[in-house]
């Protein structure tokens, strides 16, 4: 069980100074167990602030966050324990690596949980396997590895806590396409094997279209849209008003439809587009 509910969540930074800024306004959401949801929005739309509430790193100015029906901010201990249950991977997580070896860095979370040595070892190896970190790297210094490897080690550091909810802030930012695909695969794999709830923050529509079952669009601190990819991407005009666009494949499908190529609705990944185009060609030649 790991269901997250937010009730009228609001957050204001630097309240009472000239720099006062409300980042999240009245957000009420329910993210059920096992869901793969994506939060998208423009820079400064409040999405990063929002997710930091979900593991009690930030306390709401008003409103509540419930995990399995219990307020995660009810006391100091609840605030600490929620961090094991809700794993948060920050943007550019490779900047948080600090240990001398890869192994010890991945073990940092489980060690903080005061687990036994064998348990830690098991979890480190499991997390490394999930993220495709080879055991040969365990004794190397994390600082001398490549960007993509560092990113995967940092994500493994969170996965090693076996969170029931995994939240990732822009996990693919600044990676090459191969690195992106690999990380998204790792995340999908983790969810399928453990049944965890996954929440991914992104501004890349192409990534989101491929993996998420639900899309939550943030704009100016509010939830502007919430639905399946089909529902959200069918509102292309509204999305463009917020400064977001539909996936490239969907754009192309749209343009082709305008040229009287009979493509079905609901295409937003390259794979689907290719399939549909092949079907159209075969239909014509037949």
């Amino acid at each position: 069980m790991a269901e997250i509910i937010t009730e009228n969540l609001c957050h204001t930074y630097s309240a009472g100074t000239p720099f006062e800024q409300t980042a999240v306004r009245d957000v009420s959401l329910r993210i059920p167990q096992g869901q793969f949801a994506a939060v998208i929005g423009h820079t400064g739309s409040g999405k990063s602030t929002f997710i930091q509430h979900l593991n009690a790193l930030l306390q709401p100015t008003s409103g509540r966050v419930l995990l399995d029906g219990q307020d995660i901010n009810r006391d100091k201990y609840a605030r600490r324990d929620v961090k094991w249950k809700v794993g948060l991977v920050f943007q550019y997580p490779e900047y948080q690596l600090f240990e001398e070896t890869v192994y010890r860095d991945i073990a940092f979370g489980p060690t903080n949980m005061r687990l036994g040595k064998e348990e830690i070892d098991e979890r480190v190896r499991e997390a490394a396997a999930f993220t495709g970190v080879e055991e040969a790297l365990f004794d190397r210094s994390p600082l001398e590895l490549s960007g993509g490897q560092k990113r995967r080690i940092a994500i493994a550091g969170v996965i090693a806590m076996r969170p029931e909810v995994l939240i990732l802030d822009e996990p693919t930012a600044g990676l090459d396409p191969a690195g992106c695909a690999q990380i998204l695969d790792n995340i999908r794999n983790y969810r399928e094997k453990t049944g965890a709830t996954v929440l991914i923050v992104s501004h890349s529509m192409d990534d989101v279209a491929r993996i998420a079952g639900r899309i939550i669009v943030f704009d100016k601190g509010r939830v502007a849209m919430d639905g399946t990819p089909e529902e959200v991407f069918s509102r292309a005009r509204e999305l463009s008003l917020i400064g977001l666009s539909i996936p490239k494949a969907a754009q192309l499908a749209c343009a082709l439809r305008d040229r009287n190529i009979p493509l079905p609705e609901g295409i937003f990944t390259h794979e689907r587009l290719l399939e549909a185009l092949l079907a159209v060609r075969e239909g014509r030649t037949c």
């Binding site: 930091q52 961090k83 794993g87 991977v89 920050f90 997580p93 948080q96 940092f108 949980m113 600082l143």
Partner: protein, 265 residues
């Protein structure tokens, strides 16, 4: 929590005080400090307090934010007051007591002096952006260049340091959050435990600070920065009429304080 540090914070605004030339403001703060130390009696302190309040009102800085700057010094202020109460000779409040009326007066004046000193200097940093401040400082120290003092290099370093304080603070904040998300605990435990707990923050912070410094050096070089020789400014500082008026008022204030000192007030 780290965002609460007000030291050297700048509150943007568009008042007369904000518009004054940074050189004028730096000079006025020097004048103000000299004047403050001329105060001998209640009249003198009263005048300085009045001038401080007037300047604060003119710059539209809230008294609350002023107090925030004084807060970290409260311990020192209290200590000074306490020492003055007990170590000033004079007529005892009650026969047999060490506390004297003179001591109490001294303590209040000393407290006032420290608070005013802090408020005056904070008024400068609250109303002047760090860049303007270092620019003003460089121009004021220009004569020292004749003595081969590396004025430009020093002020450049200062403005860079100032520029990167907020960046480093937000970076620290981010790293702290990331480590907290992995269950790091910075608030409880023995002193050695807590010192050890800083490692997960300091290592990434240093790594990124060095990287940033490297990138900054490359960025500066690729824009042909080669030191202060023959360098011109995008924004030339010019003294206006209001600067002249401010300086004259400052001079009058200082003269007034000297006169009051002459009378022992």
């Amino acid at each position: 929590m780290l965002k609460d540090i007000t030291l050297g914070q700048y509150f943007p605004g568009n008042t007369v005080v904000h518009r004054l030339d940074p050189r004028t403001k730096i000079l006025l703060v020097v004048v103000y400090i000299v004047a403050l130390f001329q105060a001998r009696g209640w009249v003198g302190y009263g005048l300085v307090t009045l001038v401080t309040l007037l300047c604060t009102a003119l710059s539209k800085i809230k008294l609350r934010s002023m107090f925030k700057g004084v807060k970290p010094m409260l311990f020192i202020i209290a200590l000074t007051a306490l020492l003055n109460i007990f170590y000033t000779a004079g007529t005892p409040v009650r026969p047999g007591w060490i506390i004297t009326w003179e001591g109490i007066a001294r303590a209040v004046q000393m407290m006032l002096r420290i608070v005013l000193l802090i408020s005056g200097t904070f008024l400068l940093t609250y109303t002047t952006s760090p860049i303007a401040l270092t620019d003003g400082l460089e121009l004021l120290l220009n004569p020292l260049k004749k003595l081969r003092a590396p004025v430009h290099e020093m002020t450049m370093m200062m403005s860079m340091a100032l520029r990167f304080i907020p960046t480093l603070i937000s970076e620290t904040d981010k790293i702290m959050s990331a480590q907290k998300a992995r269950g790091a605990d910075f608030e409880t435990g023995s002193l050695t435990r807590r010192a050890k707990a800083l490692l997960p923050i300091l290592v990434p912070l240093f790594v990124s600070a060095f990287k940033r410094a490297d990138e900054l050096a490359v960025a500066m070089e690729s824009r042909c920065y080669h030191g202060g020789e023959g360098r011109t400014r995008m924004k030339q500082l010019r003294l206006e009429r209001r600067d002249l008026i401010a300086l004259i008022l400052g001079g009058l204030f200082l003269a007034g304080m000297f006169v009051l000192k002459g009378f022992g007030l």
